[in-house]
């Protein structure tokens, strides 16, 4: 099964819509609630990152009997130093993002914590692609 959603940069009113829809699907097909929570928390963090930092993005989810694979790609400024961005507490979020309750520098570390595999590719001035996997078995 494959699902795809568009995410707009700066659109905080709809941040989390894709995660919410994917959560509904995962519940319908009886995925373990603990795995659902991990997947949607990671996905929501990624969605918020697009809203906070990028111009536009796309969420693609593939569900197989073995795993849930997620790809979140965006067109945006990119991440100059991924290692630094992975450190808890490091943030480049604007005051507006912090007013929404985010921008504490916990996003990427929390995505890593909630997934079994994480790959981040980024090009400065072009955008970022996150791929993560949660195994079902």
């Amino acid at each position: 099964m494959q699902l795809e959603f568009k995410v707009m940069g700066g659109d905080f009113a709809n941040a989390g819509y894709a995660s919410s829809e994917i959560k509904k699907v995962l519940k319908q097909i009886n995925i373990d609630p603990k795995i659902i929570k991990k997947v949607v928390v990671a996905l929501y963090e990624a969605e918020v990152n697009i809203c906070a930092h990028a111009y536009a993005g796309k969420v693609s989810v593939e569900i197989t009997p073995e795993k849930i694979s997620v790809e979140v790609s965006d067109k945006g400024p990119g991440i100059p130093d991924i290692e630094l961005a992975m450190q808890e507490g490091f943030s480049t979020a604007s005051p507006a993002v912090r007013e929404m309750g985010f921008g504490a520098g916990m996003g990427l570390p929390n995505i890593k914590k909630n997934t079994d595999f994480l790959d981040i590719q980024s090009t400065v001035g072009k955008g970022t692609t996150l791929k993560f996997i949660n195994y079902l078995t």
Partner: protein, 137 residues
């Protein structure tokens, strides 16, 4: 502290513990906090045992617990989205903040109880702790 004061202190402590509980329903919570249940009045009575207080949703997304109450002064859509992704079914909005129509609608869809309360976050936490609600760590 003289002998009589010590005795009185012990008596009051024991009496206080008699009224402590290890869980509370949303109706009991609202009554204790002199609050208002905005949505979820008739929902199934979950027995809440733990609470987490934060205005920072990035921190809320890192916690992992069931039967958790979220205490926050952040009255925006992302507080409800964060609760939805974190499987939190009760939000107490403190400091007299009001839930918006969008928040109420999303909470209804996600079966999340919203309680508004005029107390500060500190007072809210103190009252719930005194009543037996536990911290996560």
């Amino acid at each position: 502290m003289d002998f009589l004061s010590k005795k009185l202190y012990i008596f009051v402590s024991i009496l206080g513990n008699c009224f402590r509980t290890d869980h509370m329903t949303h109706k009991e919570i609202s009554k204790l906090l002199n609050g208002r249940i905005i949505i979820g009045e008739g929902s199934e009575s979950t027995n809440y045992q733990y609470a987490f207080a934060s205005d920072l949703m990035s921190d809320v997304l890192t916690v992992d617990s069931e039967n958790l109450i979220l205490i926050t002064g952040l009255a925006n859509l992302q507080a409800v989205r964060t609760a939805e992704m974190s499987d939190i079914s009760c939000i107490i909005i403190v400091r007299g903040k009001k839930a918006s129509e969008e928040m109420i609608q999303l909470a209804a869809e996600s079966k999340i109880t919203l309680i508004e309360c005029n107390y500060t976050m500190f007072r809210t936490c103190g009252l719930l702790y005194q009543a037996g609600i536990k911290p996560l760590y």
